[in-house]
């Protein structure tokens, strides 16, 4: 049913996403982004550019922020992945998500999942980041709507609130 004469086989790849184990049948060079969105129907992770520039496809892979549009799914085998859907638990937003809402960090929302994951990653490494560190930590995520300021405020706000706990 395909147009190609050189067909490669699919393989079974297992990993954990948001705490749940999954095994998918996929071509090894399918992008992790596409497997998350199509095979697992986790459409929260977005495609904005397909070249690792915009960060909309950011997920956490074994705790590291990565652009899922640049990862062949085979290389995600055995890893623990966190997507935006894995942050809120039982309907309760995480502090960071609430801060994004309070500070206007999400306008059209398309960059927001990646932006929030980049912020999670930053706060995991630096719970009390300076404004400069926030700017740098988010510099791989492009936002066309906000001009970044309210996003940076949201992260700073979450850092304060988190610290107060």
């Amino acid at each position: 049913m395909t147009a190609s004469s050189q067909e490669r086989p699919q393989c079974e790849i297992s990993f954990t996403v948001n705490g749940m184990s999954h095994t998918v049948r996929a071509y090894p060079m399918e992008r992790l982004l596409d497997v998350l969105r199509h095979d697992l129907e986790l459409t929260g992770t977005k495609e904005g550019c397909g070249e690792g520039e915009c960060g909309s496809c950011s997920v956490l892979l074994d705790g590291a922020l990565v652009n899922s549009c640049l990862i062949p799914v085979l290389q995600a085998s055995g890893s623990e992945i966190v997507t935006i859907e894995g942050l809120a638990s039982n309907g309760r937003l995480q502090v960071l998500q609430q801060s994004f809402l309070d500070c206007g960090g999400a306008q059209c929302g398309i960059c927001t999942p990646g932006m929030i994951l980049a912020s999670v990653h930053l706060l995991n490494k630096k719970p009390q980041p300076t404004l400069e560190e926030i700017r740098e930590g988010l510099s791989g995520n492009l936002c066309r709507c906000t001009g970044y300021m309210q996003i940076i405020e949201a992260v700073a706000d979450a850092a304060r609130t988190g610290a107060a706990k």
Partner: protein, 755 residues
Amino acid sequence: MKHTPIVGTSVPRMEGRGKVTGHARYIDDMTLPGMLHGATVRSSIPRGKIKKITFGPGIPWDEFVIVTSEDIPGKNCIALIEDDQPCLADGIVNHPEEPLLLLAHPDRHLLSKTVEAVSVEYEPLPAIFTIEESEAQRQTIWGADNIFKTYLIEKGDLDAAWQNAAHIVEAEYTTGAQEQLYIENNGMIAVYDSEQGITVWGSLQCPYYVHKSLMKLFALPANRVRVVQMETGGAFGGKEEYPSMIAAHAALLAMKSGKPVKIIYDRLEDMTATTKRHPSRTRIRTAIGEDGKLLAGEIDFTIDGGAYKTLSPVVLSRGAIHAGGPYYWPNVRIRAKAVATNAPPHGAFRGFGAPQSLFALERHMDRIAQVAGISREEIRRLNFLRPGQTTTTSQIINEPINLGKLLDRALDLSDYHAKKENFTRHNREGFRKKGIGIASFLHGAGFTGSGERSLGSIAGVEACEDGGLRILVSSAEFGQGTNTVLCQIAAEALGLRYEDVSIAQPDTHDVPNSGPTVASRTVMVVGKLVQSAALGIKNTLIASGVLSDSYSPDEFRTACRAYVAKHGKFRSFAQYEQPEGVFWDDDKYRGEAYAAFAWAVYIAEVTVDLTTYSVTVDDFLALQEVGKVLHPVLAQGQIIGGVAQAIGFALYEKVIWDHGRMQNGQMTNYIMPTSADLPPIRVYFEELGNVHGAFGAKGIGELPMDGPAPAILNAVEDALNISFRSIPLLPEDIFAALSERATPETVPTSPRGDA
């Protein structure tokens, strides 16, 4: 019963929760059973005749759905102002990336290879790519003279004024194309049913624009075309008219295949094939009095519309009307024209002509200041419009705006004078030159002149079973806060809680046509209609006796529930009516161009690094009068986001053209600012109210796009004493200018003692 104000407070974004949890549904998140994926075969030349199309070897063509112009049931056009733009090229192509035919297949991975397997033989025709080439008319590529539209705005008596001029200041300014670069690419899903007709879901700003164009393309009546807006990931005008094209394509494939079809562009296709901001050239000639006052002006404003008319006349109109800025021109002639070139049609982008003409004007004001020997702030103050005076279209300013005071406040907030002095001292040595620049401007909200009357927008409010209200408008949310603010307005109008109001997804089967989501009109015009429609619900309930004149939100809900239970859901509508005494002459282009103007003074502080020739914006002040701020966080977000886009317009975003085709159609090479590139953008508002807008609001979505570019280039001139008159201004341009004027090499001494 004390009512907590809702309008004026930063209530939670209506659809915000979905956005921060990843559950908001954008078009590419949606699939339908049996869905095919669609792709577009496009022209690789800028102009020519199609001689032959060959479907190459190695592809199982029988598995593919193929659509050509022959499959179009109605008229082969994307109906807009004129019907000149084909949906699919029919024998002739007029721009690179012009759609030729469509393919669909269940396996989306097959499509790009298959598109490449279609080869097209052309007989190329000579093509034109610049305004000047178009004006020369050696090739006529559109109509009789390559001219889509002209406008002439005249006021006063020019000839006399030139005689009395103490100075005549003349210059030319240009702006380049700019890509909207919404982070979500264009996409549509279409379904065709022989009974129901067409349904499309997509990323879009104007459901009824798509609706209208599909009706014509398919020769279907209104009730057999349905358009539904999905969550839209940014638009900025880039999804005003273009979605009609992609919807048409998806719908044609759906019709031919009998299956749902999804078309999603990737970034390269979106950048190279869809609309961009119109490039412009403005020539300004001004007569100045000894005291620095504007005596007369001739403004020649020309925009490049690309290959088809699309919205160019409207962009031209707004650019022409804004060309005079916030100043009093006793005598002026503005000649505006939109011309054709063999590039993909240019289109709507936030500001819509005004950023182009205001860039020229605000640069020109600095030039006038120089020639007249008057400071840049004083030259503006002297010439500001005052209440009672008339604009270039002879519209009387009848609100108590005091632009001089606004200017003073901006100068104060930016510490302008102290900085200017410091910078002069600072610039004597070292490799980093600092400068500060001003731009003062205005932006008219709503459709021009008789535009709102022609639209005749309708907004509805529905009383729901649960006693709440549901707003029915075709106004699209794409980040600017439409959903939130319209709900605030309805809640406030009836003294309810924000939670008592919801808003329907824009679905042409369900909502009336409240007009396109453009022109900064939604809060102001549609908001006011929502207010009226909401009051209609209240009046009905009170008239029926279930609700008393004074009530609590819970009492309202109880009454509403009871009424709906008895009579069924009901809807109240309000339609736009032009206010009394609004006068607009479409032929002479004179009168009340806009129901309301927002006013602004922006000040930019820059550093030019002479090692790299790059400009950094260090601080940015955005002060504007906006009628009323309905939602502080959203309003601030609009201004900051618009300033950020305009900084991109000024310093970063260059479209590199090669024979009408964009060469840098990827995010790696089309440069928009990251979080590491933008300064803190400080936003301040003033509120004079607005009788024509909901709760006194004026439109603000586009305003912030107009001021930053000239303010920044004014600052660069302050830093370097070089006048740049073209944007985007790249380091390479600064280097070229410096090396042209450089004579003996001065080696600046390095700075010392800076901790």
